[in-house]
């Protein structure tokens, strides 16, 4: 089960070694050429040098996580987030820490001990710590070092109406989509890039695009979704089960309208449900890719992900499958008809 393997692998921004190895094992049988670049992105080529539109398909393999920045006298660990994490969601969450993946819990003062005033305020980052059960600094130092990383400990699980939860659908769901697409036969020169450090500012994708120099780029993401009771359509951003979401405008990109229309047209022909991403907050690797060199025509396609950047992210498996179908159909259409934008 590729989603389980990918989402449970360890890989906060800048420290993608384990997830990269997991992806490498998955892609190896289907790749014509596999390599990593200086920042650590994994680049997989299919039909290199073949005629036809060269397309870069990118998904980032890093996840939001934490870095241990200090070990206190009492053995508790101070930490800082890597990527955008809301400190209010951290209390009492279970994490895995360091090379040995020790379990830890993000602790805070119990409600019994809090003053009435304290109960009205969310805890800030400097009031939180990771407890790994060590009795003092010396014992903690045998288990972890300053600079070690931590991620949420959530396991992959399917439940309910074809839903699945995990710690890292952003963006392991995109990585899984890429792996499934890689398995499909094609004559196009395709480059699949599993990028690094997206969560800390789209750092890995630019150098990949500079190296690959594609004719077109498609970024596959897990994106914000708040389709809960009482939220108007334009504030929920995306709706689960309503299909992959096409980006219009976000914090780093004004989407390429013709390429988006082409993708929407393919969805219509193939009767694959699609929706627009209806909010502007956040950004993805398109922001770096589309401004590389002389500019690259790019599109963002996302699987709606509830509770993104939090320990239990939820997707609808229909959306995951429809994202694969949609991009597969887009590639098929370009294979037959050539570059869609003249």
């Amino acid at each position: 089960m590729v989603l389980k393997k990918l989402t449970e692998a360890f890989g906060p921004s800048g420290f993608e070694d384990e997830i990269r190895q997991v992806i490498y094992e998955e892609v190896k049988p289907y790749a014509d050429h596999v390599y990593t670049d200086a920042l650590g992105s994994l680049i997989v080529e299919k039909n290199p040098g073949a005629k036809g539109t060269k397309i870069l398909l990118a998904a980032h393999m890093d996840e939001v996580g934490f870095m241990i920045v200090n070990i206190e006298e009492n053995g508790l660990l101070r930490f800082r987030p890597l990527g955008g994490v809301d400190p209010r969601i951290l209390v009492s969450k279970v994490v895995r820490v360091g090379e040995k993946r020790h379990y830890g819990v993000i602790g805070a003062k119990a409600i019994h001990l809090q003053q009435p005033e304290e109960r009205t305020k969310p805890l800030e980052l400097n009031q939180l710590y990771i407890d790994i059960g060590a009795k003092n600094r010396e014992q903690a130092e045998n288990l972890v070092e300053i600079g070690d990383l931590a991620v949420f400990a959530t396991e992959y699980e399917e439940f309910g109406d074809r839903r699945a939860k995990s710690k890292s659908f952003d963006d392991r769901v995109g990585c899984a989509v890429l792996i499934e697409l890689l398995k499909q036969p094609t004559t196009l020169p395709l480059v699949f890039a599993f990028t690094v450090q997206e969560e800390t500012g789209l750092r890995g994708a630019g150098p990949v695009a500079f190296r690959v120099k594609p004719d077109l780029a498609i970024v596959v993401e897990g994106t914000v979704c708040f389709d809960v009771a009482g939220t108007p359509s334009h504030a929920e951003s995306t709706k689960q089960g309503a299909g992959p979401a096409l980006s219009v405008v976000d914090g780093r990109t004004i989407g390429h309208a013709k390429f988006r229309d082409f993708i929407k047209g393919v969805a219509g022909e193939e009767q694959i449900p699609v929706q627009y991403r209806r909010t502007v907050g956040g950004a993805n690797d398109v922001g770096a890719i589309h401004l590389t060199e002389m500019g690259i025509i790019s599109a963002g396609i996302s699987v709606p992900t509830r509770y993104i950047h939090a320990p239990a992210q939820i997707i609808h498996l229909d959306d995951y499958e429809n994202t694969i179908r949609l991009i597969s159909a887009v590639l098929g259409k370009i294979e037959k008809g050539g570059h869609p934008i003249q």
Partner: protein, 341 residues
């Protein structure tokens, strides 16, 4: 020049939707440039080759003027046909209530309004919508697509014969100056004028243009907020006080040699000029300066009152002085030798 500014200012060109203003500029420059083309980001390039003689210098100077203006993009359509929007550029949500807009692609008119259950000073972008006077989502879809962008829609006015008032004077004034230059100048080196896109959302167009042209020297034409109004927090640049020579803006610092050369030229040619030290305004200069291995980049700006509003005001004296100093700079003896790097 005034007619040129007016003809450019009336065209809606929000960031990302510059196709029409690019076409209008292209019509003017097609016959005077040696080569004209556009790129993936929508930037418009005009190449003017060196005069054909043996002493031609193998250098390229890039002059940029962004075409885009702030606006809003449609991200969703309500059941009742109201359009939900996102900002393109730095806009304050509460200041948009009641503003008239026009869509770039279709010319549909609309007015921005806010949900009735939010206090005016608490309004955020998700509370705003555009009313285009239709009754249903279906009817709205006949007129507008998701991703369509609109800009402010206000008449161009001459408050006095020398003072202009309009939206988008930032930066159509510079576009007009650059077009006028292309029409009249012939140089001994290659001149590339880039009419750039998406400046309002972070100088995105010029980033790829700088990479493509890889110039030896760059000049950014823009606008800077004037500080000559009551209790203004802006720098003491006066409208009508001369063209502003950029020393720095919020995103870059001009090399002193480049800046001082422009100041000297202004003095020797008796062109009224001031110094721009803009602490809040950004320009395309920052992106060109760090393109490839770095480009010596300077800037000239027109002092502009109410730059962050749809009612921007400029003085024609400043526009003409920008045009004069630009030409003096391009024709100057030490253009390629007054700095080292």
């Amino acid at each position: 020049m005034k007619e040129l500014i007016q003809s450019f200012a009336k065209i809606p060109g929000p960031a990302g939707s510059e196709a029409e203003i690019a076409r209008a500029i292209r019509t003017k420059i097609e016959s005077v440039a040696d080569e004209v083309y556009t790129d993936v980001l929508g930037n418009l390039y005009a190449i003017k080759k060196p005069q054909s003689n043996s002493s031609a210098i193998t250098k390229t100077v890039l002059i940029s003027a962004h075409m885009d203006e702030p606006g809003v993009s449609v991200v969703d359509i309500d059941e009742d046909g109201f359009l939900r929007i996102a900002p393109l550029g730095h806009l304050k949500p509460s200041e948009l209530i009641g503003q008239r807009v026009q869509f770039a692609r279709t010319k549909i008119a609309g007015v921005i309004a806010a949900d009735g259950d939010v206090a005016r000073d608490k309004v955020e972008f998700p509370n705003l919508f555009i009313d285009i006077a239709v009754r249903s989502k279906e009817d709205a879809h006949k007129l507008v697509q998701i991703g369509d962008a609109a800009a402010f829609d206000y008449e161009f006015q001459e408050i006095t014969p020398r003072v202009l008032l309009s939206h988008a004077l930032d930066n159509r004034v510079s576009c007009a100056v650059a077009v006028d230059l292309l029409e009249k100048i012939q140089l001994s080196f290659q001149l590339v004028v880039v009419f750039s896109t998406q400046q309002q959302v972070g100088s995105r167009g010029i980033q790829v243009a700088g990479y493509r042209i890889n110039p030896d020297l760059a000049m950014v034409l823009g606008a800077t907020p004037a500080g000559d109004t009551p209790k203004s927090k802006n720098i003491q640049v006066k409208m009508g006080g001369g063209v502003a020579i950029k020393a720095q803006d919020a995103a870059m610092v001009v090399a002193p040699a480049l800046r001082d050369y422009l100041i000297q030229l202004a003095e020797s040619d008796q062109i009224p000029a001031q110094i721009e030290v803009a602490s809040t305004a950004r320009s395309d200069a920052s992106a060109i300066q760090v393109s490839r291995s770095g480009v010596p980049t300077c800037g000239l700006s027109v002092p502009m009152r109410y730059l962050d509003s749809p009612s921007q005001m400029v003085h024609m004296d400043d526009v003409e002085n920008m045009r004069k100093l630009l030409e003096a700079w391009l024709r100057s003896d030490k253009l390629f030798t007054h700095f080292t790097y």
